[in-house]
């Protein structure tokens, strides 16, 4: 029998970026908020201190900061004709666990999506005709525009101390920035990152081909910085231990640095860690969320009532909690009806490695988001009529790691082990760098999330089942980006290059990306979306489902800039409109 707790104004299920933003904004406005986090409490000191945190085996290989698959994983199949099996070791994507979520172990590449990204279907149809998407493609417009989100992108960037150079301020194109980006209201809060040798060569090569390279925007903060709410950051020292690690320098923006101190300072925020939410409880009418049930480390059940409930876990748990709580109609791929679980999408990485016999790069010097990037082949910045796919990729060199267990590139044709392999590793470790095209992934009728009929987590709840494979847009895109990598390799005068276009089926067995998206998507129609543009549940108006689960498909960028902007857009609407008149906002 669950112990019933005193009601609070709001609670968040999960305390990462979105839970932290909700906590900061609502507590500042005078509301009492409880944050429920399944993982442990952790903070820069003492948890991410050097030298212990610079341990590649423990953090990057054994995945110390990542969700524990022994407790909970997802099941996977490429198509509905297969039996989904549990991903027994997490490899391909790495959701976080613990305070701050994946906002602790991320790299910090922080983007705004292009205006086109929010209007994918209508603009593709207008430019290329309806047949361009294909029958099974369910990509669509988001129901929100770049212009509506701009103030909230700005808000997130200033809160997180993002380093970069504006390419477009109020319509004026600025040198040094991304000329393709949507207009922004002002410059980034911090100057851009330094440029590595690899990046400098790549920048020249891209320029020589007529592309428009610029320094990647980064949450690796470039100078001591205090955000508008008074939370302070240190400066990145380019230590090369970023993704999969916590930051000892207070320099990689995280919920712990940027928003949680703000919430805690109000005295109206209570953080409970080590508690796993197992259900969202609805009123008899099923139009109101009254509480959540959670289990602590001793197996004790608690019921925490709240006026507003924010589902702020990773994509998988957002969707799973809706399904196990019976909120919204589950999506049925056979009929295309239902909403929860539809439009699951991902990220498509097409990579290349360039080798240079006569140059050294010191790959261990770097930062999570220390890149030179060009956007000439992202969104609809180029003519797609010949290649025949929609969307694109940001193409970049990111100098983020030389950690040797996972980084020891060897040229094409090198054996995988033995003396020749070892000599090649010795020779090329310092004489190579990687480039990547981080591609968008379209939504398709057959790619979706639902509850697995067989496998369960440590709490006895069904695991989430993922059904996913690359579609025609992705496979064509990868070939296209591969050709661009080859062109760059020639412009770089590389001694040799290793090209890795994506072909065949999507696999969970190599790390690709933790940019899993969709399943609780936003839209303008309750019959085809789970939440409105305020990320408010159509069915249960005091329930908000935040994060990348709301993306109808996934653009060719990292998601957190948009996840953060959408969270501020939600809290702004909640505080300005919802609390005065609780009910549907759209």
């Amino acid at each position: 029998m669950a112990t019933k707790l005193k009601p609070v104004d709001a609670l968040t299920i999960g305390v990462g970026w979105t839970g932290g933003i909700v906590a900061a904004e609502l507590t500042k406005a005078g509301y009492h908020v409880v944050g429920l986090e399944r993982g442990e409490y952790r903070n820069t000191a003492p948890d991410f201190e050097v030298p212990q945190v610079h341990d590649e085996l423990s953090y990057a290989v054994r995945l110390k900061l990542v969700q524990d698959a022994a407790v909970e994983t997802v099941t996977f199949r490429n198509d509905a004709g297969q039996t989904a099996l549990p991903i027994r070791y997490l490899i391909g994507f790495l959701p976080g666990n613990g305070l701050g979520g994946a906002g602790v172990h991320w790299n910090g590449m922080t983007w705004r999506f292009l205006p086109w990204d929010f209007e994918t279907r209508s603009r593709s149809v207008a430019r290329y005709g309806a047949q361009m998407l294909g029958e099974d493609c369910t990509s669509r417009d988001w129901g929100i525009t770049y212009g509506e989100l701009e103030p909230f992108y700005d808000r997130f960037e200033y809160q997180a101390g993002i380093a970069g150079k504006a390419g477009n301020i109020k319509g004026g194109i600025r040198p040094g920035g991304n000329p393709f980006e949507g207009p922004r209201s002002r410059e980034y809060p911090n100057p851009p990152m330094k440029v590595s040798y690899a990046g400098s060569l790549y920048r020249e090569a891209a320029k020589s081909l007529g592309y428009h390279p610029f320094i990647m925007p980064s949450a690796n903060v470039t100078r001591a910085y205090t955000n508008p709410d008074g939370a302070s950051f240190g400066a990145c020292v380019y230590c090369g231990y970023c993704e999969r690690f916590g930051c000892e320098m207070y320099a990689k923006a995280s919920p712990q640095l940027a928003v949680l101190p703000v919430a805690l300072k109000t005295g109206r925020y209570e953080l409970r860690t080590g508690v796993n939410v197992v259900k969202i409880n609805l009123s008899r009418s099923r139009r109101r969320a009254i509480s959540v049930t959670y289990v602590d480390g001793a197996g004790r059940e608690f019921e925490q009532p709240a006026d507003m409930i924010f589902v702020t876990a990773f994509v998988f748990n957002n969707v799973r909690l809706l399904l196990v709580s019976g909120i919204g109609t589950p999506y049925d791929p056979a009929t295309g009806s239902g909403v929860v679980g539809r439009n699951y999408a991902y990220q498509l990485n097409t990579s290349a490695t360039y080798f240079f016999a006569d140059k050294v790069f010191n790959p261990f010097m770097g930062a999570g988001a220390m890149g030179i990037v060009f956007d000439d082949f992202n969104g609809d910045n180029f003519d797609h009529s010949v290649p025949g796919f929609i969307g694109g990729a940001d193409i970049y060199v990111n100098s983020n790691t030389g950690r040797p267990i996972q980084y020891h590139p060897v040229p094409k044709g090198t054996p995988g082990w033995g003396l020749a392999w070892k000599k090649a590793v010795t020779k090329w470790y310092n004489r190579a760098f990687n480039a990547n095209a981080q591609g968008g992934v379209q939504a398709y009728r057959g790619n979706y999330l639902d509850l697995d009929p067989t496998y369960r987590d440590a709490y006895g709840l069904p695991l989430l089942r993922m059904t996913f494979d690359w579609g025609p847009h992705e496979l064509k895109q990868s070939q296209y980006m591969n050709d661009i990598h080859a062109t760059l390799g020639k412009a770089l005068s590389a001694s040799s290059m290793l090209l890795k276009p994506v072909t065949g089926h999507y696999t969970t067995q190599i790390y690709q990306s933790t940019h899993n998206t969709g399943g609780a998507i936003m839209g303008t129609n309750p019959r085809t979306s789970v939440v409105n543009k305020y990320l408010q549940s159509w069915d249960v108006p005091n329930l908000f489902v935040l994060g990348a689960s709301s993306f109808p498909q996934n653009p060719g960028y990292n998601p957190i800039g948009t996840v953060g902007a959408l969270a501020y857009h939600t809290t702004d609407a909640v505080l300005k409109r919802y609390v005065k008149n609780p009910g549907p906002m759209a």
Binding site: N43, H54, R62, A224, T507
Partner: protein, 272 residues
């Protein structure tokens, strides 16, 4: 929230970082770690058990012989760096198998069990330690049948032939696809060669020296834009920093570092 940092630890590291960074500007490496002077660094669990370093706790002697021989074909000695076994890799694997990973940490272990597609990944009910034990037995049986000898006693060329066959999935290891065992062994060997020495491999930082990886003390703000210049320093391990084996007399660099710090940390670092 940031105020409770352990200052003394941080200041010590800042010194270490300064030392490492100072070497980079082309000066002779007069500070930093003397690799030869580094003591053996048994892991905490072993210390707690009062075990001598390098006492194998998982592998039986025949298993140890096979793993050592196989690792030395995967990562052989050459004039630039020692073999896997000379760098402690078999011992590293032994320790991994007896520890959390070998016993199924972060491994979803609920049934039903059934074979999957390559895209679905590992679907064996075996823990890593069980997989090693069973696979090693079968590999030695295969070698006895094929060559009349255990794997460790084969010629290097024969050993390579067996490893290639394992890699292709061409050896019958009962329930275990031989490529699954091969991939695990190769991944573990690479881990052991390049992981921090605290785990028992990468002895004397041989793997790091082979490629010029500087290890854990890392602050490159003033160096990262010095293009195309080799950065050659004695690598620094976690234990080196913890045990104070990294000199911290690079005051100029220390001061420079302080200016990159979080204000709360800076206040205390400046007062050291």
């Amino acid at each position: 929230m940031a105020d409770d940092i352990k200052r003394s630890e941080f200041v010590k590291l800042v010194g270490a970082l300064g030392a490492a960074a100072g070497l980079a500007s082309g000066c002779a490496p007069t500070t930093g770690v003397s690799p030869e002077a580094s003591p053996a660094t048994p892991n905490a669990a072993r210390r707690a058990l009062d075990l001598e370093p390098e006492a194998y706790t998982f592998f039986t002697p025949p298993e140890q012989a096979l793993v050592s021989a196989a690792c030395d074909r995967l990562i052989p000695a050459d004039d630039a760096s020692p073999s896997a076994s000379a760098a402690g890799v078999p011992f590293y694997i032994d320790q991994q198998l007896v520890g959390a990973w070998g016993n199924g940490a972060r491994f979803y272990r609920q049934g039903p069990w059934q074979a999957g597609t390559p895209e679905q990944g590992y679907q064996l009910a075996l823990l890593p330690k069980d997989l090693y034990r069973a696979a090693i037995k079968s590999v030695d049986a295969y070698c006895a049948k094929t060559y009349g000898s255990s794997f460790a006693d084969l010629t290097p060329a024969q050993q390579d032939k067996v490893l290639h066959a394992l890699e292709r999935g061409a050896v019958d290891l009962g329930a275990i696809p031989s490529d699954t065992f091969f991939s695990m062994l190769l991944a573990n060997a690479i881990e052991g060669y390049f992981a921090d020495p605290l785990y028992g491999g990468n002895r004397n930082k041989a793997g790091w020296k082979m490629i010029g990886f500087p290890g854990v003390a890392a602050a490159y703000t003033s160096l990262i834009e010095q293009y195309n210049q080799p950065y050659v320093v004695p690598p620094v391990s976690i234990a080196d920093v913890q045990q104070g084996l990294v000199a911290d007399d690079m005051d100029d660099m220390h001061v420079a570092m302080v200016h990159h710090m979080h204000p709360a940390t800076r206040k205390h670092a400046e007062g050291r």
